[in-house]
C-alpha cells in the first residue's frame, strides 16, 4: 500500500522537522484513509522522535530540535489517541520531572525530558523551584512511576532529600522510583539520601529510567 507508506513517511519526516501542522494534517489524512491508528503511532510518530533522539546523542541535533519534534509528535498523538481503544494504548510509563525548591536551573531537566519523550515515556514537566509536596502531588495525579528531581546547586541539594522525606512521611515512598541528577549530585549523594538512582548525563538518565520502569513492572 504505497499511499499508506507515503503518509507514514510524511508523519515521520514531519516529526523530525518539528512541523506540528504537517504532522496534524498527515495524521488526519491517515485516519481518513483508514490507516490503523496503532501503525500511525508505531511506524510514523514514534520512529520520527526516536530518530531525533538518536541524532541528539550524536550531537547532530540539539535541545530545540528535540522539543519541536516532541511537540509535533504530541500534535499527532492528540488526534490519534482518540481513535485507539483505551485498552490498546501502550505507554512505557509516566515520569514527573522538575528542578527542586530554590533552584531555577531548567536546561538539564529539559534535555532529559525531551530524551525521555523520544524514548516513548510520558513526561510531566513540573518546572523549576518546585517544593517536595508538588512532586508528590503531580506523581499521584498522573499515575507516574518515576519522579526525576534535578538540582544544580550545592545549596539546593537538600531539596532532593526533602522529596524522600515527604514521600516517607506520607507513606508513599514505595510507589515511586526517585531519580536524582544535576551538577553537584552523585551516586554517593543518591545513596546517602535514599534515592533510587543517579545519572550524570541526560542520556544516562534515559537508560536509568527505562531500567527502573522495567524493575517496577517486574515487582
Amino acid at each position: 500500500m504505497p499511499q499508506k507508506q507515503d503518509i507514514l513517511d510524511r508523519l515521520r519526516s514531519g516529526v523530525i522537522s518539528g512541523d506540528e501542522e504537517a504532522v496534524r494534517l498527515a495524521t488526519q489524512e491517515a485516519i481518513a484513509k483508514n490507516v490503523d491508528p496503532i501503525e500511525i503511532v508505531e511506524r510514523g510518530l514514534i520512529p520520527g522522535v526516536a530518530e531525533v533522539g538518536a541524532k541528539f546523542e550524536r550531537m547532530e541535533a540539539y535541545l530545540t530540535d528535540m522539543m519541536m519534534s516532541a511537540d509535533a509528535m504530541k500534535a499527532g498523538m492528540s488526534i490519534v489517541l482518540t481513535k485507539i481503544p483505551r485498552e490498546k494504548i501502550r505507554t512505557q510509563g509516566t515520569v514527573v520531572l522538575g528542578t527542586v525548591k530554590g533552584d531555577i536551573h531548567e536546561i538539564g531537566k529539559s534535555i532529559l525530558g525531551a530524551l525521555l519523550t523520544a524514548a516513548g515515556l510520558d513526561v510531566l514537566d513540573v518546572g523549576c523551584d518546585v517544593p517536595a509536596s508538588v512532586f508528590a502531588k503531580k506523581a499521584e495525579e498522573s499515575g507516574a512511576i518515576i519522579i526525576g528531581a534535578s538540582s544544580l546547586m550545592t545549596t539546593t541539594l537538600p531539596g532532593q532529600k526533602d522529596i524522600v522525606d515527604y514521600l516517607n512521611s506520607t507513606g508513599k515512598r514505595g510507589k515511586y522510583s526517585l531519580l536524582v541528577g544535576g551538577g553537584p549530585t552523585s551516586a554517593q549523594w543518591a545513596e546517602e539520601i535514599g534515592a533510587d538512582g543517579y545519572a550524570e548525563t541526560a542520556t544516562d538518565g534515559v537508560k536509568l529510567a527505562l531500567r527502573e520502569l522495567e524493575e517496577k513492572r517486574r515487582k
Binding site: T64, I107, I111, T155, P158, T201, T203
Partner: protein, 458 residues
C-alpha cells in the same frame, strides 16, 4: 542610552510570551537564521581559529540575533527589546575601564585583544566549588592569594554552617554567605593581600535576598569587589538577578554578567554557542550594566568546557567580543578531571591557551567540573596563571597547534575523567604546601609544555 530603569520598565511592558514560545518560536528560529545568513561554520581542525573576519562576523551575527530576540523575563513572562540604534548607542557609550580592589591590590580592568602582549587578569581560585569545612576554605583561599600573579579571588562555597547543611533560600544561606565572606577576608589578610578583590561574590549565596543581605559592608564586602549576577539559559533573566543589579548599581558596586551558554542545549552546536556567548556580552552591557562578563560555555553531556567544540566556541566568541565589545570578558574553565592527575594540567593548559590567545581574561578554575566537594587545590589555578603568562602574546596559529597537541592527550578520556585526589590528600594541611608528588607532576607537565615551545615567564 538605555538605563537600568528602562530595562525594569521593559520587563513590565514588553511583549507577553510564554517561555516555551520564546525558546522555540523566537530564540531557535532566529539563531538558525542568523547563523545561516552569516555562514558561521565549526571547524574541528582548528579549535583556535585565526581569522579576524570570522571573529567580527560572529560579533555582527550576535548583534543581529540579540536585536531580534531580546531578553526574556521569567517572572513577568515578557520579552524586553530595544531597537538597534538604542542598543548601538548604549554599546558605544558604555564604560570601558573598571576598578577593582583596594590599596596595593587595586587594579583597573580593561578589554584585551587577541594575541595581546598584556597578560590577562588572573581571577583565581575555586570558581564557587564546594568545600566541606571552614578550615578548608581558609587554607584554600590563603593558598590562592599566595599565587604570585593573582589579581582577584574566586572563592569556594561553604556547604555547612556549624555543622548544619546550608539550604538555599533558608536563613542558613544568609548565615553561610556572611560566614564565607568573613573567612575569605581573613585568609586574604593572612596572605598579606587584604585589598585583593573577591570577584565571585557571593558563591555561598544563590538567592537575591542572601546576596543582598550578606553584601552589607559590615560583613566585609566593598563596592570594589565583583558580584555574580547570573543570566539563565538562554538570554533570560528574572527578578532575582535584576534585584541584585538594582541594589549593586545603586551602591556603585561591580556587577558581573555571568553567562553560560550550553552546547547541546538551546544554543545548539558550537556555532550557536559561540554566537549566543557573544550576544551575552551585549546583554551584559545593555540589560545588566555590568563591569565584566564571566563566561563559561559548557558541554551539555560532559559538564566541562575542554572538549574540542567548546574550546572552539570559547576561542571564537572570545575573539569576537575582545575585538568589538567594551565589556571585558573572562573565560572560566571547567575541567573534567581532578587534582593530581596529568589530565587536569593538560585540560587547564588547553583552555587557558585558547582563551588568552583569543584576547580574554581568565577565571581559573572549576576543577573536576566543580561538582566534587574538596576536589580542588591552589595548584590548578596556580598552573593556569603560569600558562596564562606564558601564552600572553603568542600567535593564535601557535595556540591552535598547542591546543591540538593537548587535546590529543586527553580528549578521549573526558567521558570517564579521573576525579583525582581531595585537597587534604595532596596538600599538607599544617604548612599549606602541596605534596612532593604533586610538585613533581606539575614540573613534568610544565616541562612538556616547554618542549612544545611555550616559554614560561616565571
Amino acid at each position: 542610552m538605555i538605563t537600568y530603569l528602562d530595562v525594569i520598565k521593559g520587563i513590565h511592558t514588553g511583549r507577553i510570551c510564554s517561555e516555551r514560545d520564546f525558546d522555540l518560536r523566537i530564540f531557535a528560529p532566529r539563531l538558525k537564521e542568523v547563523l545561516k545568513a552569516h555562514e558561521i561554520k565549526y571547524d574541528p581542525e582548528n579549535p583556535v581559529p585565526d581569522d579576524d573576519g570570522l571573529a567580527d562576523d560572529v560579533w555582527k551575527a550576535a548583534k543581529d540575533f540579540y536585536c531580534g530576540v531580546g531578553t526574556y523575563c521569567l517572572d513577568t513572562e515578557r520579552v524586553v527589546k530595544f531597537d538597534e540604534n538604542e542598543i548601538a548607542q548604549t554599546l558605544k557609550t558604555a564604560p570601558r575601564e573598571f576598578v577593582f580592589g583596594e590599596g596595593k591590590e587595586r587594579r583597573t580592568l580593561i578589554q584585551r585583544m587577541p594575541e595581546d602582549q598584556t597578560p590577562p587578569w588572573c581571577f583565581l581560585g575555586a570558581a564557587g566549588a564546594a568545600v566541606s569545612s571552614e578550615a578548608n576554605l581558609l587554607s584554600l583561599v590563603q593558598g590562592y592569594a599566595e599565587i604570585p600573579v593573582i589579581n582577584s579571588l574566586t572563592s569556594p562555597a561553604l556547604t555547612t554552617v556549624d555543622g548544619m547543611r546550608i539550604v538555599g533560600g533558608s536563613p542558613l544561606e544568609i548565615y553561610g554567605a556572611i560566614r564565607a565572606i568573613g573567612l575569605a577576608r581573613q585568609a586574604l589578610s593572612r596572605a598579606g593581600k587584604p585589598g585583593l578583590p573577591i570577584m565571585n561574590c557571593i558563591s555561598t549565596a544563590s538567592s537575591a535576598i542572601a546576596t543582598i543581605a550578606a553584601s552589607q559592608p559590615q560583613f566585609g564586602l566593598r563596592p570594589s569587589d565583583g558580584w555574580l549576577c547570573g543570566t539563565l539559559a538562554e538570554m533570560k533573566v528574572d527578578y532575582g538577578v535584576l534585584s541584585k543589579g538594582a541594589y549593586l548599581l545603586s551602591w556603585g558596586a561591580n556587577v558581573c554578567s555571568e553567562t553560560a551558554p550550553v552546547l547541546g542545549g538551546y544554543a545548539g552546536g558550537p556555532e550557536g554557542t559561540a554566537l549566543v556567548n557573544a550576544a551575552y556580552s551585549i546583554l551584559g552591557t545593555v540589560i545588566q550594566k555590568a563591569s565584566y562578563q564571566l563566561s563559561f560555555p559548557i558541554h551539555s553531556n560532559f559538564q566541562c568546557n575542554t572538549t574540542r567544540n567548546t574550546l572552539w566556541a570559547i576561542s571564537l566568541s572570545g575573539q569576537g567580543i575582545a575585538r568589538n565589545a567594551s565589556l571585558p570578558v573572562f573565560m572560566l574553565g571547567y575541567v573534567a578531571s581532578g587534582p593530581m592527575t596529568e589530565m587536569v594540567l593538560y585540560e587547564t593548559a588547553a583552555w587557558v591557551i585558547a582563551a588568552v590567545a583569543s584576547g580574554t581574561h581568565i577565571e581559573a578554575e572549576g576543577v573536576c567540573k566543580a561538582t566534587h566537594v574538596d576536589h580542588f587545590t591552589p595548584m590548578e589555578p596556580g598552573f593556569a596563571a603560569e600558562v596564562a603568562y606564558a601564552a600572553t602574546g603568542i600567535k593564535r596559529s601557535f595556540a591552535n597547534e598547542l591546543v591540538k597537541t593537548l587535546l590529543s592527550k586527553y580528549e578521549d578520556k573526558i567521558k570517564d575523567a579521573p576525579t583525582g585526589k581531595r585537597f587534604g590528600e595532596c596538600y599538607d594541611m599544617t604548612t599549606g604546601k602541596p605534596s612532593e608528588d604533586y610538585l613533581r607532576l606539575y614540573s613534568k607537565i610544565k616541562k612538556e609544555l616547554e618542549d612544545m615551545g611555550l616559554e614560561f615567564k616565571y
